[in-house]
Symmetry: C2
Subunit: 184 residues, 2 copies
């Protein structure tokens, strides 16, 4: 049940509406815990019922009302409790891996093309992360507190994307057409 807690982390930094949270999740926390707006709305409702967050309806001009959520004391307690609790490492799920593994039972050219496509996507994301790193954390040695923690998860993203891109290259190298291959 990490979504609840991811939302609590985000709301601890700044109160916000479901919509805003959904967009924050496209960055930072969303790098390693994504969520759709529907999911977020539902979970926020549940959290409100549990007393973990408080809501305040805010009227806006020209825009629909929004419900601004903020962390309640019970939510802060819950977050602290959860952080101290041990977690199992989330199992990996990678469809592209399944395809590479099963490549012999399908069109190898198609698999290679897919890997190339994913390589491009991950490389793009990596660049984005590296840009953020330069821009927001130019002197990482001096970071502390939340800024340091933000930096560390960005580093996780950078490492993950770097590794993925390298793996794609290895696959593309290994699956490249060779003499003796004959395709119709």
């Amino acid at each position: 049940m990490a979504l609840e807690h991811a939302l609590l982390v985000s709301l601890s930094e700044r109160a916000g509406s479901g919509y805003e949270l959904a967009r924050r999740f496209d960055k930072s926390i969303g790098y390693f815990w994504s969520a759709t707006h529907q999911q977020i709305y539902r979970v926020l409702k549940r959290m409100e019922e549990a007393g973990w967050v408080t809501v305040e309806s805010v009227a806006q001009q020209g825009k629909p009302d929004k419900k601004v959520y903020a962390v309640a004391p019970a939510g802060a307690d819950e977050l602290a409790r959860w952080i101290a609790e041990p977690v199992e490492s989330t199992p990996t799920r990678d469809e592209l891996g399944v395809k590479v593994r099963g490549a012999a039972h399908g069109d190898i050219d198609a698999v290679r093309a897919e890997v190339a496509r994913h390589r491009a996507e991950h490389a793009r994301r990596l660049e984005e992360y590296q840009l953020s790193e330069k821009k927001f954390f130019p002197v990482p040695d001096q970071l502390s507190g939340t800024a340091l923690h933000q930096y560390l998860v960005l580093r996780a993203g950078i490492r993950a994307e770097t590794g993925y891109v390298e793996w794609c290259d290895e696959v593309l190298q290994a699956l490249r057409p060779r003499k003796g291959d004959h395709r119709p």
Copy 2:
């Protein structure tokens, strides 16, 4: 819907029962697509109804009967179709990342201990993978076909675990207690 297809890949290599598949999934394919036996049983049933696999009840001595599943022509077609189809990259989900990100709202010592625990687990798995690499793929340059594809996903596992361990080290280094910190 990758589980169906992961099962088809596994069954294409060798027919087997749900139980056997569950254990095969603890290795190789399971490195990046895990599944419980219940999940596997359910999906196999669905696949049988769809005509993707055939079943044969096999009596055994001293052991309960087992249902041996094999890929049907429709299943092979479906697998080939799916392999050629583009996939979105599976979003990352990492609870430990959420904890590090929210470390300021909980007990930093506990987070550090968690990271250390996960580091150990991933290091252990990495060693396991590296052992498999040495044992089963001592001369990777000469691989082709399914053996090559198996090797490549093992490489994915090795890269992922290596990266994770390195990241844990980076976090442990960054979150180590420093002068000026005062905890009760």
